[in-house]
């Protein structure tokens, strides 16, 4: 085969640096949508522990709904997708990009378009929500660092919107 293919990303690979906040594209990672009626079935297949409360995240796995988890792992990690148990494991690694919003103004900048009260959004929490009209998953990685997962096609719009907000 010829040389490796180039990845094209929908946002600049150079971070946006503004007062009190930096917005940057996270590197490629593996992402899986995990679904099951019983968390135990997924735990058996994946050999990991799943958080049980909607909004909780542990070791890269966020509980987004009563039967839904979102697994993020470093690029190259493998996850079994076939199993004899009633579970659904779907590779969505390339469905989203992850923007890292970091700095003392991170929550404030995200609240420019996100209606949640991020002052009361504890470190480790994860949820699906909305930025203006675009669905996102936000994960509070640290007091001053959020990961925002959004579908790739919205990346260009979101980048302009969030960097505009950061520059104000």
């Amino acid at each position: 085969m010829s040389e490796a293919l180039i990845r094209y990303e929908p946002v600049p690979e150079t971070p946006c640096v503004a007062a009190g906040v930096t917005i940057s594209l996270a590197g490629p990672m593996q992402r899986f949508a995990l679904r099951a009626r019983r968390a135990e079935d997924l735990e058996t297949v994946l050999k990991v522990r799943l958080p049980r409360h909607i909004g909780a995240s542990e070791a890269g796995i966020a509980c987004l709904g009563p039967d839904e988890w979102y697994l993020r792992a470093e690029a190259g990690a493998t996850v079994p997708t076939d199993s004899g148990l009633p579970v659904a494991i779907t590779d969505v690694s390339e469905r989203s990009i992850c923007l890292v919003i970091e700095g003392p103004r991170a929550a404030e900048i995200l609240m420019s378009g996100c209606p949640l009260d991020l002052d009361n959004f504890a470190v480790g929490r994860a949820t699906r929500t909305i930025y203006e009209t675009v669905e996102v998953i936000i994960i509070r990685e640290a007091e001053d660092r959020f990961h925002v997962e959004l579908w790739r096609s919205f990346g260009a719009w979101f980048w302009i919107a969030i960097t505009n907000a950061a520059s104000h």
Partner: protein
């Protein structure tokens, strides 16, 4: 005293003169002035012309309730803002303001003839007069009325400013930073509550800004609040609306007060969710209703005090007070102490508090109790008042240059009313005050009726010996509504204030009747001889004051107007000259013109390339859903019209999706990857809708099924490679998949590698040619596309867009859901009954296919149309008739849904929905279009390669 600027006093900076312009004339004000105070200091009394009668108008108030002094501010191209209240415009160097609604000039206004003809403009004049003839409305009446009446000009140039917006959350939101609001903030400052304090003015203080005795307290309080980390202070910010669950909209003005607009946002929209709201919006003084009460120089008593004590400006040199309330007396005492000449105090009451009388005596002010102003001399400014005794109407004249009105106070319950809090009437105040809350909100200070302004009398119109039907005593200054208009409305039979309001337009101007509603209610109450609470109350609605569209739109303009979704390959298309169209939220390449080509030429070339060699198409926008779980096949069997359980892994099937009403809602080709895993595709626009519909059935109707749905639309970039040379282009790039016709037949799927990355490779065709749809992880879409372009160069591989895709599929008789169907088309209507599983006991929509109106004859059915003249391309949407000679309106039997020029066939082709169309093959139909009625024959849907020989190669 120089001009009208007092020697001392006020919060203006006397060391900071500011040059500005009003109506082309240069003036000097002081830092801290509003346009109103600066012009008053220069002796300017005339600010504008009224809405209907074009009467000269001056300043009525000092705050955002000002109805008269509306001006436009011009800050250069695109930065023209009409209808600003002069009392809220902060002056800055270079400010350029102009008056409105006058021609040719403010002093000599042609439209003032309306005032002389006033007897011809009673309430309801427009409704009564311009009814007939109807045809005159658009061309004659409306343009003439628009020229004569109205507010400032709408700006025409594009606004170069940008606007920020944000959500915010707090535990306590305080609206209004007067003493009551500040006290509320100070009282909660030491808790751990997040507090936001909002005020529309440029500094905190509200009424305290006009009371120098409170300034030391104000300064201390301001500092304490600024130092408190849990308090956010937003000045120049108007809370304009109060919505459900303590959601408050507010606009912060960031740059309008600055000499240069700068690079930052002009305004910022705050969408605030508050745990508790404290409304401290204060109260607004009521004007008194008497003839000439709109003459420039007649104003609210409290406004005169604000101009004197906050801005150091005298509103006159010989000022008369017309009072019905004690507060006016206190204002006048303050004015006298500030050095303003007081000509007299007139009070409509027979008796007032003796302390007031004593203070007036001490200050040497003449007092006339039980008297009323019955007329004002002067047109562009006050020269004198005529007053009369309320009992014997004995009249006298008092020379003066300003008249102050103290008619009592109206609590500002606007936001309270937005929140649906109830109101109760208080006879002693002549006003409504907040009663029961509907949200977690309370009112403090003036807006709750709690004030120390003293007492007053509540009256509708001041006593006068004149004929009430011949005088103009204004109630609503902005909409030019007089007391006699309201009485006329009552005489004409209107009983509810809601009707009186709409008939007279009282309170319907941009100020929403801040100064007029209560007077209007009192007058209607007297005319109807009913207590005020019995005639109803009009509703306040957002916005509290007018706001810019820019602030409400935020960044939603230009590139950010709405999220535009782009595929990974979009950047390649852009770089290669694609012309785009929007499909749902997606930006899709419509065609790829070569130099000199128009759309027609480009599309013809693209279509021929696909039929003769190979074309390449970005199909990434197709919706994709991964359906996984032991019950996946059972679920799809229930959702789709056709059978799914027997589909073998590695094979694809066309799926037709109905709504429960039996009508087609979506379609797409789906593949079985494994016994418990399917890869569904949907239409581009239907992706979200289909996923929602499937989730609905799964969660609420069949929750026992073990199957889960995941949107994978954006997991894969999809490249369609179509044409007789498609396999040759693909073969060298693919690993692990045998592409031969035998090993990989039409409607199959294989997983393997392409260019070193994994692919789900479909052998499917929406063109009728040998075709593949290459699914690759999205980030590699463009790179794989470029490899295919390089590999296909020897076959002159041709990128094609959505337009060619439409032509190619129409040649093959493939429908597009949403174009050839419209939500009333069944599978049978669309000729897709082959896709319906006859033996299946149930699927979504099956029962409806036996509904009486769906089995009835005469339904519109999808057919092909071939025009007699092969060069005529019918218009999509054109109506179809059977007999073109019938009289108009003709009976329309259907319409054209798709229509194209087919370069391959050398003629036009079309689809149409025609009543009973399936029985009309070969019949002649007529399609009236502009200029000519075209003739076409009904045909089948498949125009090209009906045997499908080109597919199976």
């Amino acid at each position: 005293m120089s001009g009208f600027r007092l020697e001392t006093g006020g919060r203006v900076d006397r060391n900071q003169p500011v040059q500005f312009r009003f109506d082309g004339t240069s003036y000097q004000g002081l830092e801290g002035d509003t346009l109103a105070s600066a012009l008053l200091a220069n002796g300017v009394m005339l600010f504008g012309r009224s809405f209907k009668y074009h009467r000269p108008r001056g300043i009525l108030a000092a705050g955002s309730e000002e109805p008269n002094a509306l001006v436009s501010v011009d800050r250069g191209p695109g930065r023209f803002t009409p209808n600003l209240r002069a009392t809220g415009v902060e002056i800055h160097a270079g400010l350029n303001a102009v008056s409105q609604n006058r021609w040719p000039s403010l002093k000599a206004d042609f439209g003032a003839i309306n005032d002389r003809l006033g007897m011809f403009f009673p309430a309801g004049f427009y409704n009564k007069t311009f009814m007939w003839p109807r045809s005159f409305w658009d061309k004659v009446y409306e343009p003439a009325i628009r020229q004569m009446a109205g507010l400032g000009d709408a700006p025409t140039a594009e606004d170069p400013d940008h606007y920020a917006s944000t959500y915010a959350h707090c535990d306590l939101l305080i609206v209004g930073a007067g003493p009551a609001g500040i006290d509320a903030a100070l009282g909660s400052m030491d808790t751990n509550k997040r507090i936001i304090l909002i005020d529309e003015q440029d500094e905190l203080g509200g009424g305290a800004l006009a009371d120098p005795a409170l300034w030391p307290w104000l300064e201390r309080s301001h500092k304490a609040l600024i130092d408190a980390p849990n308090v956010t202070i937003l000045t120049r910010t108007t809370a304009f609306g109060y919505y459900h669950d303590n959601f408050i909209g507010a606009v912060q003005r960031l740059t309008d007060h600055l000499p240069k607009p700068g690079d930052g946002a002009r305004e910022k929209l705050w969408r605030i969710r508050a745990g508790e709201v404290v409304l401290a919006q204060g109260a607004i003084e009521r004007p008194l209703v008497f003839e000439g009460n709109d003459t420039p120089g007649v104003m609210l008593s409290s406004a005169a005090k604000i101009f004197a004590t906050r801005y150091g400006v005298a509103v006159g040199k010989a000022v008369v007070l017309m009072a019905a309330h004690d507060s006016g007396w206190h204002d006048v005492f303050a004015l006298a102490k500030a050095g303003v000449g007081i000509a007299a105090i007139i009070d409509v009451r027979e008796r007032v508090d003796s302390a007031l009388m004593q203070e007036a005596g001490r200050l040497g002010i003449a007092v006339h109790l039980n008297h009323s102003v019955m007329g004002v001399s002067g047109r562009h400014s006050v020269r004198a008042v005529q007053i009369c005794n309320n009992d014997d109407y004995l009249a006298r004249r008092i020379d003066c240059d300003a008249v102050l009105m103290a008619g009592g106070w109206t609590p500002s319950v606007h936001l309270w009313s937005h929140s649906k809090g109830s109101l109760k009437w208080r006879d002693d105040l002549g006003a409504y005050v907040p009663d029961q809350p509907n949200e977690n909100v309370r009112c403090v200070g003036g807006c709750s009726g709690d004030w120390d302004f003293g007492n007053g009398a509540v009256i509708d119109v001041l006593p006068t010996p004149k004929d009430h039907s011949r005088i103009k005593a204004f109630v609503d200054f902005q909409n030019d509504v007089t007391a006699k208009d309201i009485k006329l409305a009552v005489r004409e039979g209107f009983r509810s204030i809601e009707h009186i309001k709409r008939y007279t337009t009282n309170g319907m101007a941009t100020d929403q009747g801040k100064t007029s509603n209560l007077n209007g209610l009192q007058i209607a109450s007297s005319a109807l001889d009913k207590p005020v609470p019995d005639i109803g109350l009009t509703s306040f609605r957002p916005p509290y004051t007018p706001q810019t569209f820019g602030a409400l739109a935020g960044h939603a303009k230009g590139a950010l107007f709405q999220p535009t979704r782009t595929t990974n390959i979009d950047s390649w298309a852009d770089a290669h000259g694609a012309v785009f169209e929007l499909v749902a939220q997606w930006r899709r390449a419509r065609y790829f013109p070569k130099s000199g080509e128009d759309m027609h030429a480009a599309v013809n070339r693209e279509c021929v390339a696909v039929r003769s060699s190979v074309g390449i198409f970005d199909a990434s926008t197709l919706g994709k859903i991964e359906v996984v779980g032991p019950d996946a096949a059972e679920f799809l069997n229930r959702m789709y019209t056709n059978p799914w359980k027997a589909l073998e892994p590695g094979r694809c099937r066309y799926g037709l999706l109905l709504k429960e009403d039996g009508f087609i809602t979506d379609d797409g080709v789906s593949a079985r990857l494994a016994p418990d895993r399917f890869h569904l595709t949907t239409t581009t626009g239907g992706a979200a809708r289909v996923l929602n519909m499937m989730e609905d059935y799964l969660q609420t109707e069949w929750p026992d099924l073990d199957v889960w749905l995941t949107s994978t639309t954006e997991q894969y970039a999809v490249i369609a490679l179509q044409g007789p040379n498609a396999r040759k282009v693909l073969e060298p790039l693919v690993e692990g998949i045998d592409l031969s016709a035998e090993a990989f037949p039409h409607m199959a799927i294989r997983e393997g590698m392409i260019c070193g990355i994994p692919t789900r490779l479909f052998r499917v065709s929406f063109t009728g040619e040998l075709g593949f749809e290459i699914n690759v992880p999205t980030a590699y879409g463009r790179a794989v596309w470029e490899r295919l372009m390089a590999q296909g160069a020897q076959y002159d591989i041709t990128p094609y867009g959505t337009e060619a895709m439409h032509v190619l599929r129409a040649e093959k008789g493939f429908i597009i859901v949403g174009q050839d169907t419209d939500g009333t088309v069944t599978p049978f209507d669309a000729g897709l009954d082959w896709a319906v599983g006859k033996k299946k006991p149930d699927f979504v929509g099956k029962r409806s296919m036996a509904r009486p109106d769906i089995v009835a004859p005469g339904r519109k059915q999808l057919v092909g149309l071939l025009t007699d003249d092969p060069n005529v391309v019918l218009e999509e949407g054109a109506q179809i008739v059977a007999d073109p000679k019938q009289p108009v309106p003709m009976t329309m039997i259907g319409h054209v849904t798709s229509s194209y020029w087919s370069e391959t066939l050398g003629r036009s082709i079309a689809f149409a929905l025609v009543a009973g169309g399936h029985e009309m093959t070969g019949d002649t139909l007529h399609i009236p279009m502009p200029g000519k009625t075209h003739i076409a024959k009904v045909s089948g849907l498949v125009f090209y390669d009906p045997e499908g020989a080109r597919l199976h190669v």
